[in-house]
């Protein structure tokens, strides 16, 4: 009979703060190797297909940027929420609403063209995401309704709403009955960064700008301090005069707007029209990105690239090895598990206690008192 015992460190371990994402990644690889072996594929071969081949050419790096952009944008917003101990897990819905709001111009006013179209679309996308995120924020502040459940329920509602739009009122009349809107006009398409080299578009730039901006806010501005204080001790925050309700709205609107921006960037950049499904679960994967990046916007950029690679790798193993692309989801889930587990090392030392082993360090006085 073995038992784990946690011993609180006097202060957080700087070493493990840095190391823990790497340990988590290594453990995920080991678990992944076991999984591939169980599926009857040589792990080395699988890893080559999964992690190396998808990023061995320049155009593939562009694909990586396309997948990473929405993950980073959403995760940067979510990191502020989670730092404040506010749990927005409905980013997937806010992403969809951003895509829908931003598409109002190209779908309903296709004759409106010019340089103003794109900025307006992006703005509308942010407004759409923020408005949708305002619902759980309002319910939490007015009625103290649990934001985890409401924000998640709204994801299902958003998916169904988009499904209705593209099959009903917004369906392309010339689309041969396919459930999709018209193709966006040229001025409504997010330009590619380097059209000669690959497909990556301005969405990736937005993601980097958002990450740096939020990093500055969190580390250099009063607002960031407010977020951290309210997150670690709401009572202390109240004494300092920081309002919790305002913070709920601030974090939800910010993360909603960023998710909405990600949504319209994806629709206008990578897809070019609205379809029944516009996201392979970006809003949920971004939660993993946020934690893997240690809720730090700069860490999130790196984490976003890693998770984007799991999407590309999933597609690669499906086409090359005939393994379901659900492998990607499994990798993502395992990664989050190991990240959370390794984070324990920052605050605690772990001791394995055998059944009969004498407890060398346990102070006898405490034992008796118990």
């Amino acid at each position: 009979m073995m038992r784990l015992e946690l011993v609180k460190r006097p202060q957080r371990s700087a070493l493990f703060s840095v190391l823990s994402p790497f340990i988590a990644f290594a453990l995920t690889m080991i678990a992944g190797a076991i999984m591939f072996a169980l599926l009857g594929v040589s792990p080395l071969n699988a890893f080559n297909v999964y992690f190396v081949q998808p990023i061995s050419e320049v155009w593939q790096l562009h694909e990586l940027a396309i997948k990473a952009a929405p993950l980073i944008l959403i995760a940067v917003g979510l990191s502020v929420c989670y730092k404040a101990n506010i749990w927005n897990i409905g980013a997937e819905g806010q992403f969809i609403l951003g895509g829908i709001f931003g598409s109002i111009i190209p779908v309903l006013f296709p004759e409106f063209e010019g340089p103003l179209v794109l900025p307006l679309m992006l703005l509308l996308g942010m407004v759409g995401g923020a408005l949708y995120a305002a619902i759980p924020a309002l319910l939490k502040t007015r009625f103290s309704t649990n934001e985890i459940l409401t924000s998640l329920m709204l994801v299902y509602v958003a998916q169904l709403f988009l499904d209705w739009l593209v099959r009903g009122p917004w369906r392309d009349p010339q689309g041969h009955g396919f459930p999709q809107t018209i193709q966006f006009g040229d001025s409504a398409v997010l330009p590619e960064l380097m059209p000669d080299a690959g497909r990556a578009n301005w969405g990736f730039v937005f993601a980097l700008v958002a990450a740096v901006t939020v990093w500055l806010m969190m580390s250099r501005m009063l607002k960031g301090f407010e977020v951290r204080v309210l997150g670690s001790s709401p009572r202390a925050g109240r004494f300092a005069g920081f309002g919790l309700s305002k913070m709920v709205f601030f974090t939800f609107l910010l993360s909603g707007a960023l998710a909405g921006l990600a949504g319209i960037s994806e629709v206008s950049g990578a897809i070019g029209q609205l379809q029944p499904v516009i996201s392979p679960g970006y809003g949920f994967t971004a939660i993993i990105v946020a934690f893997l990046g240690r809720l730090n916007p700069l860490g999130i950029v790196a984490a976003g690239l890693v998770l984007a690679l799991t999407y590309l790798g999933g597609e690669a193993v499906q086409s090359a090895l005939g393994i379901s692309d659900k492998v990607a989801r499994v990798f993502q889930g395992m990664l989050l598990f190991f990240v959370l587990g390794c984070d324990t090392l920052i605050h605690y030392r772990i001791r394995l206690i055998g059944f009969a082993a004498p407890q060398l360090e346990a102070a006898p006085k405490l034992e008796e008192a118990r």
């Binding site: 649990n146 409401t150 209705w164 993993i288 989801r329 499994v330 598990f337 034992e367």
Partner: protein, 306 residues
């Protein structure tokens, strides 16, 4: 009359998985642990149950597998949150994400395969009594399990010493620990019980409700079960009432779609989720009631000091 009976029967079938999963989660939360992984454990139970039933041809073995898979999957959450003291919200979320991915991968080869269905109870004579016969004596076995489980949990929590201990841990793990109660051990058992229930609820989906494997077939039911526990303010009999209200909403919108009511089907399909939000708002408006009933140490990690 027949239509009414049939509608009541379908409502019971829709309510049963919600009830089983929510009752399990209720025990978990009463012990002070918030496991947001219900959706993940449920879908793992569904795929495990379907797979075992499909491979062996026996729905009963399928059911057993669903329970075991759900319990094992919850053990992962227990080790993380109880032994490693990780954040319960984040860990529960990751359990759901992992469950949805893993079940999709495991279930790839099951898509489109015919499943096995758990037979309904059939007592000669009794089950053929008009109207009440089918309602009382002719439903699927898990219907009776769900009702029995609710009664058992009610009795356990409020009429036994162990139940009292479990609730005291949920209200103050520090005091319970000071009294010499093995907080972590109780919580392990509670979490595993919740996992077994969620797995069983998933098994109901793939062995009774729609005996086949469809990816993401739990369709948010695990989350609705979580909402039901809040809605019920942590009382078993209110979970029962809530599950049947939601079962009625779920079936109501399906019937409305079948009758061709001139409302887009997507709007009707979103009703259960919207109803969840409305109900949560209504119940949480009364702050004093919620404060009084919420287990006081719900969601807080606990590391015994020694």
């Amino acid at each position: 009359m027949d239509i009414t009976v049939n509608i009541l029967l379908t409502i019971a079938t829709a309510a049963t998985p919600l009830l089983i999963a929510a009752i399990g989660e209720l025990v978990v939360e009463r012990s002070g642990v918030l496991n947001l992984g219900v959706e993940g454990m449920m879908i793992m139970g569904a795929v495990g149950g379907f797979g075992a039933g499909y491979l062996t041809g026996s729905p009963w073995i399928g059911l057993l597998a669903a329970i075991v898979v759900g319990a094992l999957f919850s053990l992962l959450f227990a080790v993380m949150t109880l032994s490693l003291a990780t954040n319960q919200v984040a860990t529960g979320l990751s359990l759901t994400l992992l469950g949805l991915g893993l079940s999709g991968m495991i279930g790839t080869s099951f898509v489109g395969q015919p499943g096995v269905r758990l037979p309904n109870l059939d007592i000669p004579g009794l089950s053929s009594i008009p109207v009440v016969g089918k309602l009382i004596f002719g439903q699927d076995p898990l219907f009776y399990v769900s009702i029995g489980l609710t009664a058992a949990v009610m009795w356990f929590l409020f009429r036994t010493r162990t139940g009292l201990t479990l609730r005291s841990i949920g209200d103050s793990h520090v005091s319970a620990h000071a009294l010499g109660i093995k907080v972590i051990r109780y919580r392990y058992l509670a979490v595993i019980f919740g996992g077994a229930c969620a797995g069983l609820a998933g098994g109901h989906l793939s062995l009774v409700y729609t005996p086949q494997w469809v990816e993401n077939m739990s369709a948010g039911r695990g989350w609705i079960a979580l909402a039901l526990v809040v809605f019920a303010s942590w009382r078993p009999w209110r979970v029962l009432a809530g599950a049947y209200i939601f079962g009625a909403v779920w079936i109501g919108q399906l019937h409305a779609q079948a009758f061709g009511i001139p409302v887009p089907s997507q709007f009707l399909s979103s009703l259960p989720y919207l109803a969840t939000i409305v109900v949560l708002v209504l119940i949480s408006r009364n702050k004093r009631l919620t404060m009084m009933n919420t287990p006081a140490s719900l969601g807080q990690p606990f590391v015994p000091d020694r």
